[in-house]
Amino acid sequence: MTWITWEKRLQPSPWMAVVIPILSVILALGLGAIFLAATGFDPWKVYQSMLKGVTGSRYGISETVVKAIPLMLTGLGVSVAFRMLLWNIGAEGQFYMGAFGATWVALTFPHLPPHIMLPAMFIVGCLLGGLWAVVAAIPRAKWGVNEVITTLMLNYVAILWVDYLVYGPWKDPQGFNFPLTAPFAQAATLATIPGTRVHLGLVFALIAGVLLTIILWRTRWGYEIRVIGESVKAARYAGMNIQRNIILVMFLSGALAGLAGMSEVSGVTHRLQHAISPGYGYTAIIIAWLAKLHPATVILVSFLFAGLIVGGYSVQTMGVPAATVSMLQGAILFFVLGGEILTRYRLHFRGKEVAE
């Protein structure tokens, strides 16, 4: 390594912070192209029809927005936890619990009027998503139990729980044996933009983004979150209650994922069903990191990843496996992580003869 030297930058380079994510997406697509070509696909054709599937029609564009909604909400949730170095990997499970909570309201009280039904679904969805995260937050706050593993294990439990319901007691007798519940009453469905499937969840996500920005940079609580994330020692020294903040932030994080689940059942599927998320909670992790944990950027990046998901669906007819999308997502994150060093360091290439 003597021919490359690292020189620490005094200030992280803002220029690199923009270039690296863009370059990472390009490089990941390049890597994906190699895999596609190696397995007998024409990468150019695949990418072209992906792009066409996303932007080529009104339907493609509206589907992208529909997929962006849960990604924004889970992405916001994950990013606020990451800010405090709380590795909430459980957005997937919190999403399922939110969907479960909202469905419980819709199926148990089918005759509620919309102005009570929807707020009730909203509250129960957020509450269950938040509490599911708190299950991992309490042992983390009290004894330092690794939250990566607990939140992840809770994902599996939540998914199995929803599967139990949709294959068992909540299964729709008129559903031709498919694992789904009966459809919700009209009062339990979110309004959509006429002619599209884009629903009110978009407004939830945008408001959540604004509120989170206000919380993080305009309130005392947000200040504490940011300080704890920078240095737990400094925060403790300043007398901040770290245990309480761990639980509160995890609750907020889970509640946002729960809201994503609520808005998905109430805005898109209008029922609970098996595999209701194609991994939104995991994609949220990449989005949060790519967006540098900034709410406004989370919203923007969510559209990119939603496009990737919709484009991925559209090329499945060509025989391209659905897993291609998750492979691309992982690769993007790899390149971002590898490139991050360039924001902190300047690289110097030298001849081999120059000693260290």
């Binding site: 390594m1 042992p139 004894w143 330092g144 496996p321 998750s326 492979m327 790899f334 590898g338 991050e340």
Partner: protein, 311 residues
Amino acid sequence: MENSVWVAALAAAIIAGTPILYAAVGEILAERAGVLNLGVEGMMLVGAVTGFMVAVHTANPWLGFVTAMLASGASAAIFAFLTVTLRSNQVVTGLALTLFGTGLSGFLGKPYVGVALPVSFKAVPIPGLSEIPILGPVLFRHDPLVYITYVLIPLIWYYLYRTRPGLNVRAVGENPGAADALGVNVFALRYLHVILGGMLAGAGGAYLSLAYAPSWLENMTAGRGWIAVALVIFAVWDPLRALLGAYLFGGVDSLAYTLQAATTISIPSFFLKMLPYILTIIVLVIATRQTLVKHIGAPGALAIPYDREER
């Protein structure tokens, strides 16, 4: 009769625990060198799919097993490059490796779903030992990959606790600055142990697709990689304790099938499938509290990138 049910359950626990054991001991090697690799699940999947693909085409499970270890070792090398050389965040990079490995294995394995494996690893009773009452059927009527762990795990324990290089590895994990000052090559050791750890994760993955299930299914590890990571904490970074822990999890894992076969009470299978995940959480909480009380914990420099200039 009663007896044979228990013997069968214990033997099943060892088989179900073996993939987790391989992965957990691999992770212990990486973490002892101070690197937290959360990509175990992804590396296991890469191992499972490549092992299966090679075994299908060559009809040789051993070749599949070795290729699996190489493929997962290679993916661990990417992780090592990012975290050791480029000093990226280990938690997020590990997650990236899991996401990438999940996607890659699904992509590569797509044509192999439902394909039958021509030759899988079969149980080979060890002459003599397998005839010992109870112990024989529990321990010595398995496939060769199980026997490998019987030898490998004590060897790794010996390496870590009784040899000079093992001491160096633990020093790198505890205090890389001090180890570096003593002339230990921190970067080389970290690379080596992350890659060895990846190879063992690949072995665990290949065990699933070549011996346990013999088949390929998308996401067939079903969280076992994460259970392995949790097991490392339960085992307080000790390979021998990981052995016991893995069989405990193996027991719970196979309990779902044992219970369904042996009892008349019908517990919905979804709840039985939840058991390993719930047990992981409970065990993790207990283990963490214990290490807290006894003041034994993770290697001191775990998850902290080593920067020579900041020594």
